[in-house]
Amino acid sequence: MLLKDRVAIVTGAGRGIGKAIALAFAREGADVVVADINLDEAEQTAREVRELGRGSLAVKVDVRSREDVDDLVAKTVERFGVIDILMSNAGVSSMECVIDMPEERWDFNMDVNLKGTFLVTRAVAKQMIRQCSGRIICTASAAGKSGTPTQAHYNASKHGVIAYAKSLALELAPLGINVNSVCPGTVRTSMQEREAAWSAELRGGDAKPEDIKEEYVSFTPLGRLEEPEDVAKVAVFLASDYAAFMTGQAVNVTGGLVNTE
């Protein structure tokens, strides 16, 4: 097991990529604190972690709230004593062209994806600095390295996550804490279901969500939709000793969709 007896926090772990990561960490021997804005879903993931024989705790967290984030760290340390791994994963998206983009949508994407990353990593970093050890992994996106129409705000937030994590990596490196990002492509999640439906609607005509998903596949050199487990495997690697000498990196997990730095 690659993460035996480590303690991990995964935000946005009620479903999708976060849930897959929480379960993958548990399979590798970690206790996992499951944070999500939806407590019912967090509790479900926590149950599944326990079924794998690992300790778990479900915490309701809105990553935009400093109080919620502080509460998450306090509860984790109270229950497990340390935080070895943080997977800062909670994220949202929406789709609209810039010309029609309401300010609230800009704020929504930036606040959850980027400011949420800042608030969670800052709070956890304080604990990791006391321990002089830790791994922080941020879920960025292929959208953190390229642009897509109707998602300029989401692109902005994910570009921000990558740059932020690089700075943080340099600050925390002397303290024995590694910070990396993982950049998924088009992952089969509820977010993808929504985006495919929005894309079809924005495009008008006869476009159907299924057609959009087929396009995702056709753009992906490895020729299939990405699964949450594809991201989870790389998250496990980044959290493990195999990645001990990696920090400040933004790793693409896109089936070849993104092949730039």
Partner: protein, 253 residues
């Protein structure tokens, strides 16, 4: 239409566009600075605007459209930076940098975009930073905001490419102590020491760099730049020299 002239980059960009014969409307958080710069140039107007306020941005852009009839080139040089460890960064400081650098860009672009679409013409240039590419320690919020600008532009460039509008970013090195002063002022911190940035750019020649960045802005806005869209150009130390050696300077001049 140029936002932000408190630093050397903004000032030099304004002057270069003016030298090229453009009518320049320049807006800055400090109205007096914009007015003083405008009084030094032909066909220029200076105004005050806080880019964090949509209302103020709309007012300035509305006035530019009224005075000049159209906006061919929109440049944002409004930048604020804060040099501080991330664990000590307050939520308010984070918000201030994000609002000024990233959301300010969104306000400016969205406010001017409609008239550019109506004209089927326009060039948008954002001055980001080298920090967007290789984020240094103690500049995490600034780096995040600058890379957010690039991400925003990359998405936007896909949306407007069929409308003869081009969107690009320039990434200067650490040339502007003024952005650190502004960041400290906006967040209520002590002004940083002179030379805080020098550690990142030991071979810095500020005049040369500001001029190189302004040359590139003029290049992107002109005929030669008509096929360039969705790019973020690194323009620091060696890159500026490199472009000059390529003869770009001669072409621009």
């Amino acid at each position: 239409m140029i936002f932000g002239c408190s630093g050397d980059v903004g000032k030099t960009i304004c002057k270069r566009f003016s030298e090229e014969g453009y009518s320049v409307v320049v807006a800055d958080l400090k109205r007096e600075a914009a007015e003083a710069l405008a009084s030094d140039m032909n066909n220029a107007v200076g105004m005050g605007a806080d880019v964090r306020s949509r209302e103020q941005v709309d007012r300035v852009i509305g006035k530019a459209l009224k005075e000049c009839g159209k906006i061919d080139v929109l440049v944002n040089c409004s930048r604020a930076a804060l040099f501080k460890e991330t664990v000590d960064l307050t939520e308010e400081e984070w918000d201030t940098l994000m609002d000024y650098n990233a959301k300010g860009t969104y306000h400016i672009v969205q406010s001017a975009l409609k008239s550019m679409i109506d004209n089927s013409y326009g060039t948008i240039i954002g001055v980001a930073s080298r920090a967007a590419r290789s984020s240094p320690a103690k500049l995490s919020a600034y780096s995040a905001s600058m890379n957010a600008v690039i991400g925003f532009f990359r998405g936007l460039s896909c949306e407007v490419r069929d409308r003869n509008i081009r969107v690009n970013a320039l990434c200067p090195g650490y040339v502007e102590h003024e952005e650190l002063l502004l960041g400290a002022e906006l967040t209520g911190n002590e002004p940083p020491e002179e030379g805080t940035y020098i550690q990142f750019s030991p071979f810095l020649d500020i005049d040369n760099e500001a001029r190189g960045i302004a040359d590139m802005a003029v290049y992107l806005a002109g005929e030669h730049g008509r096929s360039i869209n969705g790019q973020a150009y690194g323009l620091w130390d060696d890159e500026v020299t490199y472009l000059r050696n390529l003869g770009l300077e001669a072409e621009v001049w």
